[in-house]
Symmetry: C2
Subunit: 142 residues, 2 copies
């Protein structure tokens, strides 16, 4: 099994951003995390070994400063779906990042045609489907 | 396969609350949803056949008004973990609801001893683990 270190850019220091940044950093990857609110970095582990960049992720200058063009993986997890969709598209189409993943907050946006070639994840529908399954299983007496 | 209609109380008309309320209502269950902000009900489907109760879920009077003691299932999905944990405990211990499920926002609270006998779901760690797996699979060339 090969063990590579990836250059991973995480955009948005939300709870989800923090969760994956801390874990990917522990796994030995090079992690850079961007947020426009410096105080959000406080949730990162004290052992977080990556870089933190304070800046607006909707500005190309911030993305360039984070060397987005060199990223193997970009994960977009701000709290705003519109920014997530836009930044994911920029990463994919302008900077040709091989793998782009975006958190989608509102299940309504999940099917957006704008998200072609972008892996999306919607925590709300993930959790919702598990809760629905629990009720259905109960209905079937499992 | 038996098909029962459950009396399901959903506390918190968050995105997750709306998602499950709409789906459980479609499945033919009796759904009641509580939120202290009436405007949050706007996200429910026009076909939502359940009841909406405007009230503070941290007050026993609101829970009694929603006939919590008769509920087969209580699902707590407000945006506040402390309220979720407290209301889930009240449902389980005071009103003896057979099945109680709570959304936990912050992965840090997931292991809380207060959540004994309560099924918890943390959308952040669910989504985070899927994103981490995607990176690990890439590392292993899958």
């Amino acid at each position: 099994m090969k063990k590579q270190s990836f250059y991973i850019l995480i955009i948005g220091c939300s709870r989800l951003g923090v969760y994956i940044a801390n874990n990917l950093s522990k796994l030995g990857h090079s992690v850079v995390i961007i947020d426009e609110d410096e105080s959000s970095f406080i949730l990162l582990d004290v052992n977080f070994s990556g870089f933190k960049i304070e800046g607006n992720p909707a500005e190309l200058e911030t993305l360039r400063q984070a060397k987005i063009a060199k990223a193997d993986i970009v994960i977009v997890t701000t709290r705003d779906d519109n920014i997530n969709i836009m930044v994911a598209q920029i990463a994919k189409e302008i900077f040709k990042v091989p793998r782009v993943m975006a958190r989608i907050f509102d299940p309504v946006h999940e099917g957006s045609y704008l998200l072609k070639n972008i892996d999306t994840i919607c925590p709300t529908s993930l959790a919702g489907d598990i809760l629905l399954k629990a009720v259905t299983d109960r209905d079937e007496g499992k």
